[in-house]
């Protein structure tokens, strides 16, 4: 019945009459939508980075560290005491039912040499469990085996950064590199993981069997010593049980009484990271909420201009009513005008927002991720704002008395 396309063209004409005013009104929406998209882009990038790191760490991970040494009252910090051994790691694997994987870690920094090239990096001795727990796959070659761990085989896995620095475009698998003058055969290359949130390159690593690290690379002060262990619990719900079982087991193994301080500590890595992921998400919501306020202000701008417009065009409304415009004919005309303002503003705002996000990442070096959802959300919201704030002026216009409106000068 109501001819929407005709009303739309009438609205466009009315908006063209006051180009400057229409443009300024849209500016409010443009800034609002743009701010929402840009803010969400910054926030989303932050939480995405954290979640990526969580998945690069692996899920449900606990870290077991040796305790702090104290010498003459000076405490040296966690991990300085050499209390954890490979046997502890085996025991945890064997006796804690909530634990699925245990990866002992013993490492240090050493110089790698291949041909005429050399490179200094962190060498980590561990077991294949490490890669299961951290969900880390290889891009070529193979992992080292449990057999190679038992026999202290001179094999190693390289991270992508090490490959780039020592081999360039060559295939490193099967080549022999020297670590501390010990020849190691490269058996595989690990999938690239990128940086952790601290900016640390997770691909600048070399992994060797833990036994090899103990015997050939980093001779330890007493046999079987390891620096820490990565423990993966069977599930998120098993995290607390695993923590308790490990604590009880190690207390018993290390002969620690109930009154004594533990010579090791268990850290729930997943929990810590999830907390920071949570706070990043909160930050995103907060940024989005602040930006939404500007969208709201833009909406109020639309209402303001539409009210002025209704007053200015009282006579026009009177004419339309006299020749047969019904309540909803008049309302729709003004609602559609408000909607056009907000939707065009919304489109321009999306462009502005995406542009701002790009500019932020270019100039300030911030990571930004413009998610389609945030674009849809901001654009949809601008439409709702248009209808919501356009309704009252339209309602007011439709209630005018035709006689008074016709007489209005």
């Amino acid at each position: 019945m109501i001819d929407i396309p005709s009303i739309v063209s009438i609205s466009f004409r009315a908006l063209r009459v006051n180009k400057m005013r229409s443009a300024l009104t849209m500016l409010g929406i443009i800034i609002g939508v743009g701010a929402v998209i840009a803010m969400l882009a910054v926030g989303t990038a932050a939480s995405k980075k954290i979640s990526e790191f969580i998945s690069s760490i692996g899920s449900n991970i606990l870290m077991v560290l040796p305790g702090a040494t104290s010498s003459g009252g000076v405490r040296m910090g966690a991990g300085t005491q050499s209390t954890l051994t490979l046997n502890d790691a085996d025991a945890v694997q064997r006796e804690c039912p909530a634990v699925s994987e245990v990866a002992p870690v013993l490492g240090g920094v050493a110089q790698l040499v291949y041909g005429s090239l050399n490179w200094s990096t962190g060498i980590t001795g561990t077991t294949p469990s490490m890669f299961t727990a951290r969900e880390w796959t290889i891009s070529s070659g193979r992992l080292f085996t449990d057999q190679e761990v038992r026999s202290a085989g001179k094999v190693c896995l390289l991270g992508q950064t090490v490959v780039d620095n020592l081999f360039g475009a060559l295939d490193p698998v099967g080549q022999v590199i020297r670590i501390k003058n010990v020849p190691f055969t490269v058996v595989g290359v690990l999938e690239a993981k990128g940086q952790d949130p601290g900016g640390h390159d997770q691909d600048d690593v070399v992994y060797v069997p833990v036994t090899t690290a103990q015997k050939k690379l980093f001779g330890t002060s007493f046999p079987g010593m390891i620096r820490m262990m990565y423990v993966q619990a069977r599930s998120l719900e098993d995290m607390n049980a695993a923590e308790r079982q490990i604590t009880d087991l190690l207390k018993q193994r290390h002969h620690i009484g109930s009154q004594q301080e533990n010579d090791f500590s268990v850290r729930n890595l997943t929990q810590i990271l999830q907390a920071s992921e949570q706070s990043a998400k909160m930050m995103t919501i907060l940024l989005g909420a602040i930006a939404s306020v500007s969208l709201l202000v833009g909406g109020i701008g639309i209402m303001n201009i539409m009210l002025v417009s209704v007053t200015e065009r009282t006579r026009e409304i009177g004419i339309r009513m006299a020749i047969g415009a019904k309540t909803w004919d008049i309302r729709l005309q003004f609602i559609i005008e408000a909607l056009i303002l907000s939707l065009i503003g919304g489109i321009a705002g999306v462009v502005t927002g995406v542009g701002t996000a790009k500019l932020l990442s270019m100039l300030a070096g911030w990571d930004t991720v413009v998610s389609p959802l945030s674009v849809l959300l901001a654009f949809g919201f601008s439409g709702i704002v248009g209808i919501f704030f356009g309704f009252y002026p339209a309602y007011k216009a439709s209630l005018l008395d035709p006689i008074d409106a016709l007489r209005y000068e």
């Binding site: 004419i319 020749i323 019904k326 006689i403």
Partner: protein, 230 residues
Amino acid sequence: MALIETEHITKTYRLGDIALNALNNVSITIGKGEFIAIMGPSGSGKSTFMNILGCLDKPSEGKYILEGIDVAKMGRDELAAIRNKEIGFVFQGFNLLPRTSALENVELPMLYAGVSAKERKSRASEALARVGLAGREGHHPNQLSGGQQQRVAVARALVNNAPIIMADEPTGNLDTKTSEEIMDLFVQLNEESSITIILVTHEKDIAEYSRRRILFRDGIVVGDEVSGRS
């Protein structure tokens, strides 16, 4: 059957404690095809009566029967529909939409009647041709003379084939020669298409074009004379 019948119409305005009767007990019958001039000095109630006849206003009391239907009790939208289909308005100040072409101004009543865009265009050009404005479809009101603007308004009143045209001082802003042209147009529409014309004026020579004159004073009808056209 009478086209328009008012029974004891009263319109009361309240100004604070004082009740002002703009119309008092007006009963009038108008037949189809009549050409009526409603006359009276300002404040006599003729414009109020016109607004009620035009369904722009409602009487405080009494009945207004238009084509057998009592419209005094109707709501806003029902009255809008009646204005759209039964009545064409011509005003003193033309009341065309500014920055809108003559054609689009004439199309407007059909827009609210739900006529398709194509039919609107052809019927609007027809109506413009009928009032002698063929070829001026694209002109905006500010590009047209007063007489031409009023012709556009007449075309707009005609375009929905309304049986009644109500004209409120249609020549008030026009010079004598143009006034005569517009009045001749009304006479032509009345005689050739038997459209009922109701004219509000305070000018005697304009009223001379009508065949029946109703005289208002202080809200009551004081004269109702039928005469031939001079």
